[in-house]
């Protein structure tokens, strides 16, 4: 069984983000990029499913610029069999990205197309379900664990306060979240082998974005800490502030 995992290169979550002079994009200077962490869960899920099946290939697919090759190579080092880069400049428009990816996936024989539940840069959670719609395939979102059988996949979905078990007919699309799939780390053998694995580059389909970022703003600065008193007598005031002002409890 073959699985395609769609991945996105995003700023490292530990990077300090600065807004560029244009005011509607981030300043990319000094930003470190990584594979979006949820995409790592999706890749791990794909590798485990294929390993358990004892056959099949895992392809990683990404839409991005030249630098995205580095992220794809790291996915190959973890065990993916091949990589495809759709060269272009993705925007914040999830619908445009979904169309680009779907045009590549239409002829794909993968029984499963996996995504991370969201990209940690824009948090939109759009692209996976939109690709499913464009391909006319069922989609399970926020999948924490899966078992793939003959023509059907059982997925454990993380929902408020519990888990929901669903079955989807293959071929299908799923978005993966934190759960069973703790990402592995690359072995030196994996890194060496990745250099010999195919990484194909294609020009991405051109789709005009219908979604434009007007402006970006920083979160309000955190106010200075405040000492409300000392000892047990301060507790009541602290609880009142936490409840009424911070709305934390």
């Amino acid at each position: 069984m073959n699985i395609t995992v769609c991945v996105k290169r995003v700023p490292d979550t530990e990077t300090r983000i600065r807004i560029a002079a244009s005011g509607n994009e981030i300043d990319e200077g000094g930003v470190k990029y990584v594979l979006s962490p949820y995409d790592e869960f999706a890749l791990e899920a794909a590798l485990q499913v294929v390993e358990e099946a004892g056959s099949g290939r895992v392809t990683v697919l990404s839409f991005g610029g030249d630098a995205t090759k580095e992220s794809l190579r790291s996915a190959l080092a973890l065990g993916a069999h091949e990589a495809v880069l759709l060269k272009g400049e993705p925007t914040m428009d999830g619908w445009a990205t979904a169309q680009v990816l779907a045009s590549e996936l239409e002829g794909d024989d993968a029984a499963l197309v996996l995504f991370g539940v969201k990209a940690v840069d824009d948090d939109q959670q759009q692209v996976g379900p939109m690709v499913a719609e464009l391909l006319g395939r069922p989609c399970a979102t926020a999948v924490a664990a899966m078992e793939v059988g003959d023509g059907v996949a059982t997925c454990w979905r993380t929902v408020e306060g519990g888990q929901e078990v669903v079955e989807i007919d293959l071929p299908a699309v799923a978005t993966v979240t934190k759960g069973k799939y703790e990402p592995r780390y690359a072995s030196l053998r994996g890194i060496m082998a990745a250099k010999r694995k195919p990484l194909r580059e294609k020009e991405a389909a051109v789709v005009e974005p219908g979604f434009v970022v007007e402006s970006l703003e920083y979160p309000p600065p955190r106010p200075e800490g405040r000492i409300v008193g000392e000892g047990p007598e301060a507790t009541a005031e602290l609880v009142r502030l936490l409840r009424e002002e911070a709305k934390a409890i």
Partner: protein, 386 residues
């Protein structure tokens, strides 16, 4: 293999960082408290093949050079981990690789590459012969097809976490050789088969270095366990020493960057008198000063590694890299201690643990004074001072 074919060192560093992130400060603090060998970390690193970096591909390794091995060790230490627990598994086999017979290599290297055989101890130093290696007295006497070894070694690191150990012993008495460095030979000791003839006694240290005294009492070694020529042992281990110095310089570079990373982050965030402490030149300058030294040391380390990987024998560069890197790391350690103030001493911050660990490389694997002696004598052609 060239750098271009190996991809960027950033990729290798990122993969090592990812592995190390599974073993955070808490893991190392507990190992430190218990003075325990970091078994799980070493197992993960071994299983992922990083310690087989220098072993040729035909024997199951990655066939890479000191440049890549240095990247691995540097990154391990930069994350706060301690490569000293297992770095020798990478390079101790070098003597076997360069001077062993085809049969010996086929017998040992695949097991070392897979990690099934741990070869991470090299018994050279003795209570009365440290830097002055030619004075060692442990003797291997030839009796037919065997050697019988008697003597004592000290500071034999990781011997209690090794299956195999390399041994340097005298095979001709010092009085009967033309040069003091003649008459020494290298042996492979299979510690699993020595019975009571090899005893070890740990030396307690402050620095998370698992090191022991080793006593040989009529240890019998088959003659086929001798590596290289009889009497040529001193010269056989020399190029291994260069490799070791370049790699340990890499660990010091990693230590230095660990301190600089941590200290700079703390200086940016810690607020005293209403402003970040890093705003004070008294805090920021020592960190910047240490960072410059670490970068300079890394540049000399890179040069030494390049020369070594190109087939050279960069004795001066290897020694200078080790000297510069150990001092830069120590400077960075002190800058971090000062920046963290009292919290630098608190175990939970990790700084004091690394502080102890980083200090080792001022004296090991060679004392920095001996590096100065080496440069003065061999590079600057001044009289030998020791």
């Amino acid at each position: 293999m060239t750098q271009a074919e190996n991809g960027s060192p950033d990729e290798l560093a990122a993969a090592v960082r990812d592995l190390c992130s599974r073993f955070g400060e808490e893991y190392w603090r507990k190992a430190d408290e218990a003075r325990a060998y970091p078994e799980a970390f070493v197992a993960a690193l071994t299983e992922a093949g990083y310690l087989a970096c220098l072993i040729p591909e035909e024997y199951g390794g990655a066939g890479l050079g000191l440049a890549e091995a240095g990247t691995i060790l540097e990154e391990i230490n930069r994350t706060g981990a301690n490569a000293a627990a297992c770095h020798a598994q990478m390079y101790t086999m070098g003597t076997l690789l360069r001077h062993g017979s085809r049969e010996q290599k086929a017998r040992f290297l695949p097991g070392i590459a897979s990690g099934e055989l741990r070869l991470q101890a090299f018994a050279v130093t003795e209570p009365d012969a440290g830097s002055d290696t030619a004075r060692i007295r442990t003797f291997a006497e030839r009796r037919g097809d065997r050697y019988v070894v008697n003597g004592q070694k000290v500071f034999i690191s990781r011997v209690d976490h090794s299956d195999l150990m390399m041994l340097l012993a005298r095979t001709t008495p010092e009085a009967k050789v033309a040069k003091r460095t003649d008459g020494l030979s290298v042996f492979m000791v299979d510690l699993r088969e020595t019975g009571g003839s090899v005893r070890t006694r740990p030396v307690a240290t402050m620095i998370n270095h698992h090191t022991s005294e080793v006593f040989f009492d009529d240890l019998e070694l088959p003659a086929e366990n001798r590596i290289g020529e009889e009497g040529e042992g001193f010269r056989h281990i020399l190029s291994g020493m260069n490799a070791e110095r370049i790699l340990l310089a890499s660990e010091s570079v990693g230590d230095g960057l660990y301190f600089v990373d941590r200290a700079a982050a703390y200086a940016r965030e810690r607020r005293v008198f209403g402003r970040a402490i890093g705003k004070n030149q008294g805090v920021q300058f020592p960190i910047a000063d240490a960072y410059i030294d670490v970068c300079a040391a890394a540049a000399v380390r890179d040069r030494a590694a390049r020369l070594y990987d190109g087939g050279g024998s960069p004795g001066a560069e290897a020694n200078m890299a080790k000297y510069l890197a150990s001092r830069a790391a120590w400077k960075a350690a002190n800058a971090a201690m000062d920046a963290f103030g009292g919290w630098g001493m608190a175990s939970e911050y990790g700084i004091e643990r690394k502080f102890r660990e980083a200090r080792l490389y001022m004296v090991a694997p060679v004392a920095n004074n001996l590096v100065l002696g080496h440069i003065a004598q061999h590079v600057l052609k001044m009289p030998r001072s020791f």
